[in-house]
């Protein structure tokens, strides 16, 4: 691994150590209401949660318990109705769109249930995309994208389009993409939801490897194997954390 | 054409002695331009500035000009005088430019033409319709031009329609996938899409006909005022409506068939995932 280390960020896949604030993620009394027609849905009803740097947390609970909403708030693609969200010492709950976008680009890595790779780009280009957005010079980003694909075990599939890859392979490209800009935290929403048991297990072990190499991970999942592989489980029901 | 190139000098009559109570007729455009009305008295002369030789006349009528294509877009004014007066002031003597002759029966025209031309001395007789063809050359050119523009427009709108229809069907790929998954047959799916396309095409072209009709009203109003002519510039006829509706129906249904055939051949699950 030593050949992959970078002076700025330490190991290839570890959190960027942009700050040493602990806890890395901190939610205090977070509420999130939606208007659904004339009614208001209280998706989160006062959630407080800390995630330490280097932790690996699974958020579990029945459908509609608010776990995806929680993940969206931590991912800064949604904002709470009230309460505070702090990531790496920075308040992210009332950022402007421009600030939030830039924050996501540099501090958050997203992995989705349905991979969501750009179908028109190759595996390598998909991994390059966030770096291109962050204005990383072309040579550097190509090199890093190749290293990341190698890390997830796809160095032979660089030139393939997503449609030419299996589900497990697509998800591994998505994970490489999420790591491109040395994020503080990796967020995954049902990352094994679309995969069969065997490929699911591959992703679970990849996540374990990532965490042991220093990456902070939060996953939302129904998959017990995945949940059991994490360091902590957070149970949610009806918009509240029932035990941590 | 009626009064070849006769220039009128108009001098307001107040200062001139009254010498004649004869009347002339002028066209609306002339009346509007020179602020004249029936009963006004004007002096007319054959040459500009020839006030000494001017005749005093009363404007007896303001007339609307006939629809003469060859006169459209020319800014000429027309006045009608009694023949003898025009002959006198223009120094034409006992001459005319042409005679108009009506025959008793239409079958007599050829015989009459022959007989006149046989005895004619210094003139020739023509059929009015032949002369009309000659004077409407301008409009033949313009209508040929319009036809060409029309063809280009039809090609353009065909492509446009085809494109919209293909997009409209493709937008439905998910619905189509859902229908197919529910077990609805390919032919039923294609049929329902074609019916939808046809309805859209017919509704759209009907809207287009109303829009076109309103536009043609505006075009006629505008150009009739601009050129001061009662000619119609744009007429929405049943064949035009028929062409528009059938064209859009054919293209709409055609695009529906093409796009939906392509979609139903694709496995439904692939339609979902793109």
């Amino acid at each position: 691994m030593s050949s992959l280390t970078r002076p700025r960020s330490g190991a290839l896949v570890s959190g960027s150590a942009k700050s040493d604030v602990n806890p890395l993620v901190s939610l205090r009394e977070v509420r999130r209401d939606y208007a659904l027609g004339a009614e208001r849905v209280h998706a989160l009803q006062g959630v407080s949660l800390d995630v330490e740097r280097g932790d690996y947390v699974a958020i579990v609970g029945p459908s509609g318990c608010g776990k995806s909403t929680l993940l969206n708030l931590v991912g800064v693609i949604d904002q709470p109705t009230s309460g505070t969200v702090t990531i790496a010492g920075k308040r992210v709950d009332a950022m402007s769109d421009r600030e939030a976008t830039s924050f996501r680009l540099h501090n958050i890595g997203f992995v989705f249930q349905r991979f969501y790779l750009m179908p028109i780009l190759s595996a390598l280009e998909n991994v390059e995309l966030p770096m291109a957005e962050a204005k990383v010079p072309s040579d550097d980003r190509k090199a890093r994208a190749a290293e990341l694909l190698e890390y997830v075990g796809l160095s032979s599939r660089e030139r393939h389009r997503p449609s030419e890859l299996s589900g497990g392979e697509q998800q591994r490209v998505a994970i490489a993409r999420a790591l491109a800009n040395h994020p503080d935290i990796l967020l995954a929403d049902e990352p094994t939801g679309e995969l069969d048991a065997r490929t699911g297990a591959e992703i679970i072990s990849l996540f374990r490897r990532l965490n042991s190499d220093g990456t902070t991970i939060v996953v939302v999942t129904h998959d017990e194997d995945l949940a059991n592989a994490t360091r902590h489980k957070v149970h949610m029901r009806d918009g509240r954390i029932v035990d941590a | 054409m009626l009064l070849p190139f006769l220039a009128f000098a108009l001098i307001l009559q107040a200062s001139l002695p009254q010498t004649s109570q004869r009347t002339i007729a002028i066209d609306e455009a002339f009346a509007a331009e020179a602020h004249l009305k029936v009963g006004d008295r004007v002096a007319i002369a054959a040459r500009p500035g020839a006030s000494a030789a001017a005749d005093m006349v009363v404007i007896g009528a303001i007339v609307r000009r006939g629809a003469d294509p060859s006169q459209v877009a020319r800014g000429d004014f027309v006045a009608r005088l009694h023949l003898d007066q025009l002959q006198r002031i223009s120094g034409y003597g006992d001459r005319v430019d042409r005679f108009a002759i009506a025959t008793r029966r239409s079958g007599d025209i050829d015989r009459t033409l022959l007989r006149i031309n046989h005895v004619a001395f210094g003139f020739r007789a023509y059929r009015s319709s032949d002369i009309a063809v000659e004077t409407s050359r301008t409009f033949q050119v313009v209508s040929r031009f319009h036809r060409a523009i029309g063809v280009i427009t039809i090609v353009a709108s065909s492509i446009f329609l085809l494109c919209i229809m293909v997009l409209k069907v493709e937008e439905r790929r998910r619905d189509i996938a859902a229908l197919r998954l529910m077990g609805i047959s390919r032919s039923s799916v294609v049929r329902s899409i074609i019916i939808e396309a046809a309805v859209v095409a017919v509704l759209g072209s009907m809207l287009g006909v109303v829009l076109g009709w309103a536009t043609s009203l505006f075009v006629n109003w505008h150009y009739q005022a601009l050129y001061r002519t009662p000619l119609y510039f744009s007429i929405v006829t049943p064949p035009v409506i028929g062409l528009a509706v059938s064209l859009s129906l054919i293209l709409g249904v055609g695009a529906g068939v093409l796009a939906s055939m392509r979609l139903v051949r694709t496995p439904p699950l692939e339609l979902f995932g793109r």
């Binding site: 995309l129 | 997009l167 493709e170």
Partner: protein
């Protein structure tokens, strides 16, 4: 990367993109033609009027040149007056009329101009000898064909026909010496040229010292409008027509075509705009999930907008370039139709290609391409990310 994404997303739906490009191409062709029609006719007429460098034309009061049979009396007196203005460099009096040329038992009638060959501006001399002598006559191609005569042949020429008495006011034997092309001649019009004094003589006493038209060339830098006013006050029985006033007349007579061009041009532009908007909107709707993901991984709003606008612009530009060629072809075809317009000089082009016309058509299209992309791009960029992702997951 954005360009690559835009390109890839256009290629993804090949048939659809092709149709849209084709649609834009036809709209662009139409637009170019209409810009050419709106500006070309006028420009072509202006070039024609200025082709021999005559800035002002004098016609009998209240008429346009050769619009009527009226003539201006006192050529020598008018010439003397005109010469007193230092801005006037050259004066070319022209007498027009018609002549009859005996060919066997038949007569061929033709338009005739009486000019001074050293200062004329009505024709281009093509071959043979110009009208350097009083007994010379030159003709245009159409008349030469009708006559079936060759240079050096002697022709029986008569003028001033009186149909009542079947007599001519003058008759003379002239030698056919050359071939010319009339600058202002209409199509299929037989025409000929003799020296002005020859035509005056043919017209009997009535046409002595008269001209149908004076053409006046000004010194460089002289103001045509002030000279025109000077002429109209000095010589009251003529209308002095500068190029600008002549163009105004043409504008008025052919306003129909300009308005038609404006309306059809606007319609084509709108159709092109609509096509691009529709295509980009549909493509954005289809990709709302993809766009939400791009936003989630940190792609900025501005970059999403850029990429989508780029798609619209790419369609417009490719369509416009194809349309340019198409427009030139259709323009030529439409011009051929309209060149048969009666009473206009053969050399008038209704559709005149000017680089400026092409640039303005291209510019308009690109602007409308950008405008067409902006609405869907704005919608895409303001998608609520979390909602779009959830909806995508449910679908």
């Amino acid at each position: 990367m954005r360009a690559a994404l835009a390109q890839a997303s256009l290629i993804r739906h090949r048939a659809r993109t092709l149709l849209a490009v084709l649609g834009v191409a036809v709209a662009a062709a139409m637009l170019l033609d209409m810009v050419m029609l709106a500006t070309g006719m006028r420009e072509s007429f202006r070039e024609l009027l200025l082709s021999k460098g005559f800035d002002i034309r004098l016609a009998p009061k209240g008429t346009l040149p050769f619009d009527t049979d009226a003539t201006i009396p006192g050529v020598s007196a008018i010439t003397t007056v005109l010469r007193t203005n230092p801005d006037i460099r050259e004066i070319s009096p022209v007498l027009g009329g018609s002549i009859h040329i005996g060919v066997g038992a038949n007569d061929v009638s033709a338009a005739v101009l009486g000019i001074d060959p050293t200062v004329q501006g009505d024709y281009e001399f093509l071959s043979g000898r110009d009208v350097t002598t009083a007994d010379a006559l030159v003709a245009n191609e159409y008349l030469l064909k009708k006559l079936g005569a060759r240079f050096g042949d002697t022709l029986n020429v008569a003028a001033g026909y009186d149909p009542q008495t079947r007599t001519y006011s003058g008759q003379r034997r002239l030698v056919l010496t050359g071939k010319v092309r009339f600058i202002y001649g209409a199509t299929d019009q037989p025409g000929s040229v003799v020296r002005r004094e020859t035509l005056e003589a043919l017209g009997g006493g009535e046409r002595r010292d008269r001209a149908s038209l004076f053409m006046v060339r000004l010194r460089k830098g002289a103001n045509p409008d002030s000279v025109r006013n000077w002429i109209e006050t000095k010589i009251p029985n003529v209308s002095a027509i500068s190029v600008a006033t002549a163009l105004a007349k043409v504008d008025q007579r052919l306003s129909y075509f300009r308005q038609l061009a404006f309306i059809l041009g606007a319609v084509s532009l709108f159709v092109g705009f609509l096509l691009v908007t529709t295509l980009v909107t549909v493509s954005v709707n289809e990709r709302s999930g993809e766009i939400a993901v791009m936003r989630a991984i940190g792609v900025s709003r501005a970059h999403v907008v850029q990429q989508i606008v780029l798609e619209g612009v790419a369609i417009s530009v490719v369509g416009a370039v194809i349309g340019l060629g198409l427009g030139l072809l259709t323009g030529r075809y439409l011009n051929a139709i309209l060149s048969a317009f009666p009473g206009l000089p053969m050399a008038i082009d209704f559709f005149l290609f000017q680089p400026r016309a092409a640039w303005s058509a291209l510019g308009l299209l690109i602007v409308s391409g950008i405008a067409a992309g902006i609405y869907p791009a704005w919608r895409a960029a303001s998608l609520p990310i979390a909602d779009s992702l959830r909806r995508e997951a449910i679908a």
